[in-house]
Symmetry: C2
Subunit: 464 residues, 2 copies
């Protein structure tokens, strides 16, 4: 199909965050868009448990929301988080800013609020039709068509659009069809962490206020496991406990009974224990979803089908970039559509050019788990962060950005792959300089910058 | 099952190289071993085309053959290859030794001869029963049992052994069952190269002699593609053309017609063209199998089932280590059985301890494709090899071994993971020293060694 043919009919599988944003953007471009979604409309139903409740929205995601005209509106749902608030075991809490620049912060936002906002905005377009409770049962990649079941009537239907876009999440049916076909070679990886997670809600205080600092992402780092908390608009926090499923003393297998849970929280998180009156009920009832990484290639088939978001690059949550990466997919693809003549070449180009970036954020997210649960407690790490804050305060973004900033508050045009290569090298360089060249935050900023840049270049050479 | 219970019944799926060696070794340990094999007995049938015809047997594989008492016998089937014989485009051929030590060489051996040797040896044991033309149709991992079809009678049967060992190759049914089950989290990767391969036979000369140097592995490096040749006992060579399937000017898609093939060989491999009278017929008839890497984890399930060899770690052929890694699996597992009380713990330990090594050889094999098709032509690479030959001639193996030697002729106890880490760093260090510190083969060996060791340590630090 030619890009400029506005009669092109587009079918999107999945009206989650990425699918809803994609549908909205394509409608803005003038196409006919249909979205099939297995779940009921969350605007009229209570949402299922089991998916993460709040998310960290940052610059890459915000830019895509600005593209569809929701940049201001979304802020009503955002709680700025300026820092990590770190709660060491038995020690005093301390905060560590995400950036040395005041305007750089991440936002806690409810998945449900954000998804509803996108659905409402998409529904404003006559050219958008969202069908809920429609489950994809099979995908024919040669045709670019789907069979689906109406979950209300159990009726089976077939749909053959001009273009099929799979945004059906980590358990994607479109990806499953890619893995099964034998027309081309499909490479894929599914990698599970030994860790899983459990969400717990810390309610507001009796007066409705936040029980702990509102404008921070809280971390209780404990080496092999950790607890985190993100604020919600209603004064509560969503806490997430990450620990191994089994094969460790501290694991979901071994922290299971009421006694074990009580003892564990009193020992490891005594400050939290007092704030969750119904801890035992929540712990017993809430699920323990796994944590995995999905990579695959190609994302496109037969010039008719393309995957985006978690469907082709699901990542672990430790960089808070899963949703941001999916949203950035939409803005990157939008740009490619501007520069393409046909859908087939646009989809092919997106599949080839975008993958190195989503591979990079997948790897960075795994790195960050170690950082959050372990490194943040170490003096060298804290010195590194202090030095980086100083440089970010002193210089423009183009002159210095930490790895965290390169990923989360990127200088214009910095993709995830560049953020990974440069960010990892900088981290290594700074730690080396602290240990071997007495690098210290009290040194003049210019001197720090020069030493770090020099050593970073050396590390990049050695790693390439 | 206790390790010392010799009534333990073992079922092996697949009587290929790894399965036959494993069955033989377990029979030597006193167990009852049954092997189910889908193909007909190659000792009474012409073997299928489509699998690589000859292989490079080196120290890791030889050690496993020595373990089962075939170390001497196998040499009757081996053609030593001491060097790479490199055929640059338009230039004179030159040879590059695999090692600076005379006793270190690799061996060209026919897959069929070696497999028959293992089957014959296994058949000498009353406790071994090999059933051909039995195809596994499903695997029950909780039971550790299989359903299989007798391809002669089409009869379906069920088998529930004490221990199930999957050596059913890259398309493993046991691995497929692992990927399908939901009792535990199974991580897996399938990664296809854009390249595929085609085998071609260069017949002996009219007088029965070898048309090109017998005791070498021949390479025609051409950047994005390459041709190689390994000698056979009958005076012929098996040549393998590696090139992209499509999306490149030089690809199987674009070199397809008789005219294209003729022009391509005359242009790129004029010395070869004259030696294969039936080139066009062979090229038209022979298949183009893909090249892929398989990684997964765990290799074991429910304390009853374990995979080995290609079934859990299929790799690309460019280091000549696929078979050697599978054979080494058998000797590593044999050692672990010596040190274990139960099969369940032995299998679990093997799965955990062996995987970093097979991951490493998978990655090294991908590296080596670049080296073979490209780097071997470069002056820096040739200087590096000259320096390494000098060091290997001058010093004992424990004092210096090149990456190639660490992998292929390993100093005692050097596993693949160590070979990868040390070997990659050494390569990088030597190239750096050649470019930045005038390292040259004419320098005294002691001086070379010291400079390389120092820079290698530095590179290892930076990469970790």
């Amino acid at each position: 199909m030619k890009i400029d043919n506005q009669d092109t009919s587009i079918l999107i599988t999945g009206a989650g965050l990425c699918g809803a944003l994609l549908g909205l953007r394509l409608a803005q471009r003038g196409y006919d868009v249909n979205i099939l979604e297995k779940r009921p409309d969350m605007r009229s139903k209570v949402v299922d448990a089991g998916r993460s409740i709040n998310l960290a929205l940052s610059d890459r995601g915000l830019r895509a929301l600005e593209l569809v005209g929701l940049g201001d509106k979304v802020k009503e749902f955002c709680i700025p988080m300026y820092a990590r608030m770190i709660h060491p075991k038995g020690g005093a809490s301390f905060s560590s800013n995400y950036s040395g620049r005041e305007d750089d912060f991440i936002n806690s936002i409810s998945r449900e609020d954000l998804n509803k906002l996108l659905l409402d905005k998409a529904d404003e377009f006559e050219k958008v039709q969202i069908d809920f409770r429609k489950e994809i049962t099979s995908v024919d990649l040669r045709q670019g068509s789907v069979d689906y079941k109406d979950l209300k009537t159990n009726q089976l239907n077939h749909w053959n659009p001009d273009i099929l876009l799979g945004t059906d999440g980590a358990g994607s049916r479109v990806r499953a069809a890619m893995a099964r076909q034998r027309d081309f070679f499909f490479s894929y990886t599914t990698d599970w962490l030994p860790h899983a997670y459990k969400e717990l809600r810390m309610p507001p205080a009796d007066d409705g206020s936040y029980r702990i600092e509102k404008n921070a992402l809280h971390i209780w780092p404990r080496g092999g496991f950790m607890l985190i908390a993100l604020p919600n608009l209603d004064g509560s926090f969503t806490m997430t406990l990450f620990m191994q499923r089994k094969d460790a003393k501290i694991s979901f297998e071994n922290i299971a009974t009421a006694d074990q849970v009580t003892h564990f929280f009193k020992e490891e998180f005594p400050d939290v224990y007092d704030h969750i009156p119904d801890l035992l009920e929540q712990y017993a009832e809430n699920p323990v979803p796994p944590l995995g990484t999905v990579k695959c290639s190609p994302w496109t088939a037969h010039g008719k089908t393309l995957m985006m978001g978690d469907a082709c690059h699901a990542i672990v949550p430790f960089y808070g970039q899963g949703m941001n990466a999916g949203f950035e997919d939409v803005s990157v693809f939008d740009q490619i559509l501007d520069e393409s003549d046909s859908w087939a070449t646009a989809m092919e180009r997106f599949s080839v050019e975008r993958k190195p970036d989503t591979d990079a954020i997948a790897d960075l997210a795994l790195d960050n788990f170690i950082e959050m649960r372990d490194s943040v407690s170490h003096p060298d790490f804290q010195m590194k962060r202090a030095i980086e804050m100083k440089l970010e305060s002193a210089f423009a973004k183009a002159k210095y950005a930490s790895k965290y900033s390169l990923v989360t508050f990127p200088p214009k045009g910095t993709d995830y792959e560049e953020a990974m290569i440069k960010g990892r090298a900088q981290d290594k360089a700074i730690i080396w300089l602290i240990n071997n060249a007495n690098l210290h935050v009290d040194m003049p900023a210019e001197e720090l910058l020069e030493a770090i840049n020099k050593k970073t270049e050396e590390v990049i050479w050695h790693r390439s």
